[in-house]
């Protein structure tokens, strides 16, 4: 060791062990190696401790319980499920509920955030101050408290279904179609009287496919119009074609399949028929939206303010009105600043949706991490699965948003 010489670098002198600590060429590597070893030891120690303790307690890690029948019911299910279904299916019901509320909340939070962020920069004193108040109040109170406040107010203020009963009921339905109760909002549900497929799901896929076709066609038309504009300087009027492309195909399809609406009606203890949007879903959705919306508003404001005033002034000099300046000049550039932190906010919404259990919303934390964990006692397995789920979904959101970020990024040549 002491007489080892380097074969590759003739200028390097004899290598001594002390050089690992004294020589700047090696020192950082040495410390990194030591840190890595310590980290590995710590992880090994923790893992070993877990395995040993589990063995001492006579427990083993097994995922077989997922195939057993769950035995409990879930109030909101996007796929078929009953108490005889497996724990795995209950977990999937929970996963879909998590995705549903996260998706809805991401959309509305973005809308709230953009509106509030833009209005906060308004020249109108009242509007901008109102938006400041919104942002400061909502982002400075924990989201769990918002969820509980909204849910409690909903259950306490809205009428119970039995208030709709009797000859002179205390509460009546809006337009005889919508019922707002403390258990949720009941709205008319669409169904087909002459469906093309036996399964309702396939019919809706068909509708979505037609809409996707319309989207494709309108995009093609817009591209053609841009082409014409670039050649001749005049953009052909296309809005009525676009409108027709959106309405006619899907309208025809719905007519063929005989679209009808099922109106909710009070039967027995509850309203039946139509679509029920549960109180827990509303509270969770709304709370996540306004809470995260306040953060997004600040991002949007930062993004807009990051665009130099010269851009606005130049646009004004070209004769663009303030609204068009915002939409065509400022916002497209501001997106580059807005999107990276927006990714974190979307991730936060998804993770914060695990507070659902506070209002009895059956998300994956409530089904897999709550009832299943409790009824089977498989805590470690359930928590591992939960971690894997949230990690996967967060990484997917991240990848998707980074992809979008690349597409709006400033192209440098």
């Amino acid at each position: 060791m002491y007489h080892m010489t380097s074969m590759t670098d003739p200028h390097q002198g004899q290598f001594r062990l002390s050089m690992l600590f004294n020589d700047t060429r090696y020192r950082s590597l040495t410390y990194q190696a030591i840190a890595a070893i310590l980290l590995a030891l710590a992880i090994w120690y923790l893992a070993n401790n877990l395995v040993q303790n589990l063995r001492t307690a006579g427990l083993n890690i097994s995922f077989d319980f997922l195939r057993d029948s769950a035995g409990y019911d879930i109030n909101q299910r996007l796929i078929e499920y009953d108490s005889q279904s497996t724990h795995a299916r209950a977990a999937i019901v929970g996963i879909l509920n998590t995705l549903l509320v996260s998706f809805l909340a991401c959309i509305t939070a973005t809308i709230f955030g953009v509106i509030a962020g833009v209005l906060r920069l308004s020249n109108n004193w009242l509007v901008s101050k109102l938006m400041s108040v919104y942002v400061e109040i909502f982002r400075n109170i924990p989201v769990l408290i918002w969820i509980i406040i909204i849910f409690t107010i909903m259950t306490a203020v809205m009428p119970a279904p039995r208030a709709f009963r009797g000859d002179t009921p205390e509460a009546t339905m809006l337009l005889d179609m919508f019922a707002f109760t403390n258990r949720g909002v009941y709205i008319p549900g669409p169904y087909f009287t002459a469906p093309l497929f036996a399964s309702a799901f396939l019919n809706w896929v068909l509708v979505l496919a037609v809409l996707a076709g319309s989207l494709f066609a309108t995009r093609r038309m817009a591209r053609w119009a841009t082409g014409v504009q670039e050649q001749t300087g005049v953009r052909p009027t296309t809005w009525y074609f676009t409108l027709a492309m959106w309405i006619v195909p899907v309208g025809l399809l719905l007519m063929v399949m005989g679209l009808a609406w099922e109106i909710p009606a009070l039967k027995g203890f509850n309203f039946k028929g139509g679509i029920k949007i549960g109180g827990a879903l509303i509270a969770l959705w709304f709370a996540l939206s306004i809470y995260t919306g306040a953060f997004i508003a600040e991002n949007v404001r930062a993004g807009i303010q990051a665009i130099s005033k010269g851009q606005t002034e130049a646009a004004g000099a070209l004769g663009l009105r303030p609204r068009r300046t915002m939409n065509l000049v400022v916002l497209p550039q501001a997106l580059r600043v807005i999107i990276p932190p927006l990714i974190s906010h979307y991730l936060n919404i998804t993770k914060n949706s695990s507070l659902a259990i506070a209002v009895g919303y059956a998300d994956v934390t409530a089904t897999l991490g709550g009832i299943t964990l409790n009824q089977t006692g498989r805590a470690i397995e359930c928590v591992l699965l939960l971690m894997a789920f949230y990690l996967t979904i967060s990484l997917l959101i991240s990848v998707g948003m980074n992809f979008y970020n690349k597409s709006v990024k400033l192209e440098e040549r």
Binding site: F21, I34, L41, Y45, N48, N49, Q52, N53, T56, A57, G58, L59, G71, Y72, D73, I74, N75, D82, S83, Q84, T152, T155, A156, A160, P161, R162, N182, R183, K267, G268, F269, N270, K272, G279, I357, A358, G360, A362, A366, G370, I371, L373, N374, Q375, T376, G377, A379
Partner: protein
Amino acid sequence: MKKSAFLGALTVASIAASAAVAQDVSTLDQVKERGKLNCGVTTGLVGFAAPDANGQWKGFDVGVCRAVAAAVLGDANAVEFVPTTGKTRFTALASGEIDMLARNTTWTFSRDVDLKFEFVGINYYDGQGFMVSKDLGASSAKELDGATVCIQTGTTTELNLADFFRANDMSYEPVPIETNAEAQQQYLAGACDVYTTDASGLAATRATFEDPSAHILLPEIISKEPLGPLVRHGDNNWGDIVRWTLNALIAAEELGVTSANIGELGASAGANPEVNRLLGTEGTLGEMLGLDAEWAKRAIMAGGNYGELFAKNIGEETPIALARGLNAQWTEGGLLYAPPFR
């Protein structure tokens, strides 16, 4: 030099590891060393376990905790009450955060065998019932088709409910709730038509309502819910101590030993040999448990015998007004039957 320091650190780490792995210290020794019994109870169910206006935990389950603390530590107040929800209770017990759980927990096969717990006995024979508001007009649980039902999540009642409605070919909508207090709020706001849990819990909850007479318990009892204290698998001596403390409370009622006459009965050996063995004036039962001779005497003095605990916390004189029913002594047509003390 560096190397030896590193090896030294490694050695320390591995010693720490082996110390953390070995959990062979008995629960009894841990409790004695700590000077306090960690007892898991509910987050608050009046009559069974709830803090009173002064922050003192009171109730029927609390009584069991205090009796064990009195038997083991000689002080009925040397208890750290750890509030647990239906979801957290088993993790708390399995992890060693609590020494015993006295939280109206139903004794079931899978909890006993699969979750590796030891139910030491039954302190309340219960069954699952339904509470509805009177103006709902329902007189039987069979009329609840389509109802919205508030239910505490992570309990056996959750599974019984699913079974009951399936067996009767009815539909319902569950509203999962974490604690009794939340369930009460939801039920009173009319967010659910029905609240279901153990009948004793329903009676206790109803007693706290502003107008208890506006709510009724439906006659159907849809399950057997034998509630009792439990401990972890693996420390049989500790299980014995908790089991026989509970039995001592039950046997004391049967033998007529009350907190009023125990001083007199325990002073010297009397005519009834079983009372003598129970109170330690004869025989060495306490020694066999690893305790002193007066363990049971202290346990009974902590809050009275089983009947006194029942009457004081949930009996007919209290707002909860539960009849003894199945929980009467076997000599009076009930199911309470303590094995002999000999």
